[in-house]
Symmetry: C2
Subunit: 240 residues, 2 copies
Amino acid sequence: MVKNRWISDLHWVREGQQSRSQKTQQSLLDAAEALFSEQGIKATSVADVARRAGCSVGAVYHHFRDKTALLYALVERMTEEMRETTKRAVDPRRWEGATVRDIIQGYVEFSLASGRMRPGFKHAALELSRDDPQVRDHLGELKADASRGVARLLLDRRSEIGHPDPETAVPFVIDQLSSMLKMRLDPVLTKMTINEHSDDTFAQECLRSVTSYLELEPVTSESESKHPTGAAAPRAVKAS
Amino acid sequence: MVKNRWISDLHWVREGQQSRSQKTQQSLLDAAEALFSEQGIKATSVADVARRAGCSVGAVYHHFRDKTALLYALVERMTEEMRETTKRAVDPRRWEGATVRDIIQGYVEFSLASGRMRPGFKHAALELSRDDPQVRDHLGELKADASRGVARLLLDRRSEIGHPDPETAVPFVIDQLSSMLKMRLDPVLTKMTINEHSDDTFAQECLRSVTSYLELEPVTSESESKHPTGAAAPRAVKAS
DNA sequence: AGAGAATCCGAACCGACGTTCGGAATGTTA
DNA sequence: TAACATTCCGAACGTCGGTTCGGATTCTCT
């Protein structure tokens, strides 16, 4: 007799008793993530997931109440990761001594690099958020958190900013940058642009745009390359 | 006996003989467009379309070879419209005497206004282009055409531009603007921004950003309000 | 009016997919 | 090893939606 106990907070995911259970649960999640990101959510059947994970449909339903529970578990897993990553990335201590310019550059490079991880699944999550307002708000809040974090970093350096109204300008540039990055990172949306520059010139032009909009003082030789000292900020993947 | 003649160029849409036929074909297209934009493509069944159009499933299949034919016909209808609209919008004669600033402002206002027409269906078309590379390229080319049109208008006025490399800078700003506009216009993506300004301040800030990036000369009283003289450019819908 | 074509109807068909369930296989405990 | 729980299997079921098809209805032309 199976104790039908679902972990409500985790959206009807069963808590395994044996180590065997955890292993298949992970492989199910991995398989689902891969398939959802490759083919989309609706196009992936439960049988597909089971086959990819090397187990049966029954096993899927042993672990997850239904197909959407699998989805929610995946979204939770992903957002947890992202929350951690961005939390570290916008930690003020990490950016001590950095200029606005450094931060912007780091933001662009970081977004390009991290945005290219799990691109398909991020898209699948967005697909899910079309129908599910709860997921939409969840992801929106996550993104807004990150943006607010960067905004705080910049506003802490408002002495560098010549724009008359930094409270308006800073959120604006951040949205500006993240919009461009989203377009650039989405394989479908990319087709909608006319820009075909490498990541380097892209980052450079972003920097130039922000510099002039925020009216930062021009670069002096000594204020250059003030990247944070500790763990280096992730660099953009070089375009081939 | 029905002559089974499909119009291959129009993706297996039947050419009606009687006026009655054309009427139901139109109402089918209208119903499909409404439903696709409301619920998405996959979530809309053929029976739904038939019901909304006030006819039977059989009628649907009398006019369209299959469900995707209906889709293609709709995409074709939409792109035809868009092509016309943008062609008129970027006509150089329309912008005689206009400054770079005028054009940017017109572009933003125009995009805000036209982007809010049929938002759902545009999204559905994007959804379709996920799976169908042909549609993706088609829409991409359409968008790129528009962008190139605006770019040409701006490059024709390169004497106003202080940026050292207008060939790079102009496509960059256009992608920048269209990215922001896309985010602002997509109900899901909007959740991903921290900016909650009205259309007016948004347009204003866009203008400011572009002005400083392209290094345009500051506004003089006489160069102001040089909007095209003929048919007025569509204005942005005022935020309530 | 009447014959033949065009149009439309909707019940029936069919495959795909989510879900269930009885039992087999595997692990755990005594 | 015996008894019991956990985990897993996969055939079977029900639903849903795209598609088909034979016949009813409407139109056109003479």
